[in-house]
């Protein structure tokens, strides 16, 4: 690939990182962070985007970034104080910047009108109402006229450059002009790393130079201060060039030397002088501090250097040049390679299990060398698996931060005041899962703002804060990742939901539903239609779509709601390529795996007493309590009810809310670690089943989803609204 194209691609990657830290910094400021370094980081993010964008000629982006950066510069230099509204404006600007980056990357058109509005708002913040920026911009233009360095083309006949400053270009036709240049070094020239010799060499690139050094000002050796060379040269240059070009050569030496340039042609007697020292706006240089170097504190970024930088002057906390920890080395890897590695490791675990099984079948594992070896092998495999999983696992933070913007926009569109609180952003999820979570999460957050939260007026009427809060949190819980979206809004209006469902024929009109069942109606396909279209871009966002998306990830979603107080949506996701500790069981000649984490206790049937209640529901009477019975074979349709073998085993499993159930299986084989193979991609959703695994004998065994099993208990073949949801 063309190196520049590669760098450009990498630039866009860098932009997303910069935009992330920009948003983060602004949110911190919004949250009350007053550390100047935070504002600096915000400034730098925009500054870096501008810098890179300029290199690729992304003018719209550069233009916007420049305006944004200018305002931020005022803030970080303490020339502009900001309030909550200003921070909101900055956040909005960050969003616009993000859009511009995306437009530049995807080569799609930009919304110029919208950007112009934001820019105008930014400029009203500028001290002096934006004029300053124009003036500075003009000043910049002037200073920019001289290209920074000498072009490598030899004897410059640069009449174009001359035209810029309207220099008198009365070049006499035939003779090469001769220039007399008096060059005197001043204190500090050498310290700046500039070498008179090199300067003169550069001059010589314009044309032949003769130099006469006048050392008459040199003090005696005793008094000689090596830092002040006090050397003077009379240089003569024959070149068809311009004064600008000559000044260019000495540009870096500005202020560190005295330069007098006169042009001498054979028939011109009036010299055309310019004195480099008399550059506009250049204040008198304060005396350079003596070596060794001046105190570091004087150069704290927040202080304009033109001020008198006496060490005692008050300054913001200076960045101390501590030996910070070495920057973590990172490597960029193709996701495909990681995926391949992940799959291979999965195979490794299966293979290791198969090996163990074959060896034990041959009765070889009683040999301690072999069994020790196998144990070590298993441990190593587990360690490798953990490491590999960690590679693909990423914090949810960037995903969550994107939600900040969604909330901002949704709140703005619905005229509500909303605050988003993020928790557990460092929680890690497999990268592929994160990507597929983005859409469902966006839907739910928008819904929370649009339907969950009330308008500020309504909230105040109910005695609530006008600003609604949405908590977005991620945690690891019993081997799964749980993401919760909790709002403190009005909760689900159950009457309305029920009547809508009834009017759509989703539920029989005489049905009596529990609160939880009504809540789950939201997930039914066909529940949301035109009547539910919200203000948000006219889209009716169906929760059934969200639910299917979550299920396709092998996850679950559930709702809890309290009228008047708010609702909480919980998403529970598996950690992909996980190793599950499971109990291998058999039911009706099918081998299956029950996650160990959901088994509370095991009993033989003899110990457990089965009783049948009135409606035919069976319960297990144990230790004085009655626990509902789930005949796994019946639940899965393998067998007719009431044909439980005598030596069956009862596993006490619990749902997420802790209610125990008694799961009856035929036999327990062993406790084992198994590799989870998802079914979602290869087949789809199977009721009561979480995933599959490959056992030591190469056969596929299904892994139970106890929670789903319990949820569907009792009505496996009646796809009513009630059992389908959840």
């Amino acid at each position: 690939m063309d190196p520049m194209a590669e760098i450009k691609a990498s630039f866009f990657v860098e932009c997303s990182e910069l935009l992330e830290s920009l948003e983060e910094g602004l949110l911190q400021v919004q949250g009350g962070d007053t550390d100047p370094e935070t504002v600096n980081a915000v400034f730098r993010a925009v500054h870096s985007i501008k810098g890179g964008a300029g290199a690729f000629g992304l003018d719209d982006l550069v233009h916007f970034a420049h305006r944004f950066e200018t305002v931020l510069d005022e803030v970080r230099s303490d020339r502009l104080a900001i309030d909550a509204d200003a921070v909101l404006l900055f956040l909005k600007s960050a969003d616009s910047l993000s859009d511009l980056v995306a437009a530049a990357r995807d080569e799609t058109p930009v919304d110029e009108a919208k950007n112009a509005v934001v820019i105008a708002e930014l400029e009203t913040l500028m001290p002096g109402g934006g004029d300053t920026d124009e003036a500075t911009a003009d000043a910049d233009q002037d200073l920019d006229f001289a290209p920074m360095t000498l072009s490598l083309d030899l004897p410059a006949i640069d009449s174009q450059v001359d035209a810029d400053i309207g220099e008198v270009t009365d070049e006499a036709a035939a003779t090469t002009p001769v220039w007399a240049i008096c060059f005197t070094t001043e204190k500090g020239l050498n310290q700046s790393g500039n070498e008179p010799l090199f300067l003169m060499r550069a001059l010589a690139e314009l044309g032949p130079v003769t130099a006469i050094c006048d050392t008459s000002d040199l003090p005696s050796l005793k008094l000689l201060d090596p830092s002040q060379t006090n050397l003077h040269w009379d240089l003569t240059l024959s070149a068809d060039t311009s004064q600008t070009d000559i000044e260019e050569v000495f540009e870096f030496a500005q202020g560190l030397c005295t330069l007098a340039i006169t042009k001498k042609t054979s028939d011109q007697s009036t010299p055309d002088t310019a004195d480099l020292e008399a550059l506009p706006v250049l204040p008198d240089l304060p005396a350079l501090p003596d070596l060794p170097a001046p105190s570091v504190n004087e150069y704290a970024p927040a202080q304009p250097a033109a001020e008198n930088t006496a060490p005692e002057s008050p300054k913001p906390p200076a960045p101390t040049p501590t030996k910070a920890a070495p920057v973590a080395a990172t490597v960029r890897v193709d996701l495909e390679r990681i995926d391949r590695l992940v799959n291979l490791v999965g195979e490794l675990v299966i293979n290791q299990a198969m090996l163990s099984q074959s060896l034990s079948a041959q009765n070889l594992t009683s040999n301690t060398t072999i069994s020790t070896g196998l144990d070590e092998f298993q441990q190593l495999t587990r360690d490798i698996q953990d490491s590999v999983m960690a590679i693909r696992a990423q914090p949810v933070k960037p995903l969550f931060q994107r939600m900040s913007r969604i909330v901002r926009e949704a709140a703005h569109d619905t005229h509500k005041k909303v605050r988003l609180v993020l928790e557990g952003e460092a929680t890690e999820i497999d990268k592929t899962v994160i990507e597929r979570l983005a859409d469902p999460l966006t839907h739910m957050i928008r819904n929370a703002v649009d339907h969950g939260l009330e308008t500020p007026e309504k909230r105040e009427q109910s005695g609530k804060e006008p600003e609604g809060t949405i908590h977005l949190r991620a945690t690891h819980r019993s081997g799964r990742v749980v993401i919760e979206i909790q709002d403190n809004g009005a909760g689900i209006n159950r009457e309305r939901v029920l009547s809508i469902a009834q009017s759509k024929g989703l539920v029989p009109t005489d049905a009596v539903l529990s609160d939880a069942e009504i809540d789950n109606l939201l997930f039914m396909p066909g529940f949301s239609t035109a009547t539910e279209i919200s203000n948000l871009s006219g889209r009716g966002v169906g929760m059934d779509v969200v639910k299917r998306a979550i299920q396709s990830l092998g996850g679950r979603i559930s709702i809890q709601s309290t009228p008047g107080h708010g609702s909480t949506f919980s998403i529970s996701l598996p950690l992909t390529l996980a190793v599950l500790d499971g109990m291998v069981i058999e039911v009706s000649e099918q081998t299956m795996v029950v996650p160990l984490s959901s088994i509370v206790e095991t009993l033989t049937l003899a110990d457990a007493e089965i009783q049948t209640l009135d409606q035919g529901t069976q319960v297990v009477h144990i230790r004085g309590k009655f626990v509902p019975l789930l005949d796994l074979a019946v639940e899965f349709g393998y067998r007719a009810p009431n044909v439980i073998p005598e030596d069956a085993v009862v596993l006490f499993i619990s749902a997420e809310d802790g209610e125990p159930y008694a799961l009856v299986v035929d036999t327990i084989h062993e406790q084992r670690q198994v590799v989870i193979k998802g079914l979602a991609d290869s087949y789809g959703y199977v009721p009561g089943v979480a995933a599959a695994t490959i056992l030591g004998d190469g056969k596929i065994a299904l892994i139970l989803d106890p929670v789903d099993l319990i949820a569907r208990a009792g009505s496996p073949d009646t796809p009513t609204a009630l059992s389908m949801a959840g």
Binding site: P3, M4, E6, I7, S10, F11, E14, N40, R44, S48, K50, G51, G54, A55, G57, T136, A139, D140, L143, D144, M148, T149, L150, S151, L152, N190, Q191, S192, G193, N194, E195, F198, L199, R201, V249, E251, F252, Q254, G255, L256, L279, P280, V281, L282, P283, L285, P292, A293, V296, Y299, P301, P304, A305, A306, P319, P321, K323, A324, P326, V327
Partner: protein, 120 residues
């Protein structure tokens, strides 16, 4: 010629490296002033290019620290920045910079400037 380039933007680092490599100049990069000092201790550059706005230690401080070292008192240091305001140049000068390059930079000019300040 061997050059140390310090800039917190990965894109700029890539571009500087590309420009230098194409001109036959070897280079090493660093992400900020602190990192720059570390890398400096591992190499012996003929010149340094540095950005101004960087986290942990900005360009000005970095230049100062570099100049404190005997070996690098007089090393040519070019400041690479998007700001071209006069007071920026002044600060750069005060910090001990040899010269400056404004971003977006023309690779030929960057190389030209380096050649001039290193005399070859």
């Amino acid at each position: 010629m061997n050059v140390l380039a310090v800039d917190d933007s990965r894109t700029i680092r890539n571009m500087v490296t590309l420009a230098l490599t194409q001109a036959g100049i070897t280079s090493q990069v660093a992400e900020d002033g602190v990192h720059g000092l570390e890398v400096l201790s591992q190499m012996a550059p003929d010149a340094i290019i540095t950005d101004i706005n960087m986290p942990r230690m900005d360009g000005f401080e970095f230049i100062q620290e570099v100049r404190k070292q005997d070996a690098y008192q007089g090393i040519p240091i070019l400041v690479l920045t998007t700001e071209s305001a006069q007071d920026m140049k002044l600060r750069a000068r005060q910090a001990g910079a040899t010269g400056w390059i404004v971003k977006p930079f023309d690779p030929a000019k960057l190389v030209g400037a380096l050649r001039m300040v290193t005399g070859g």
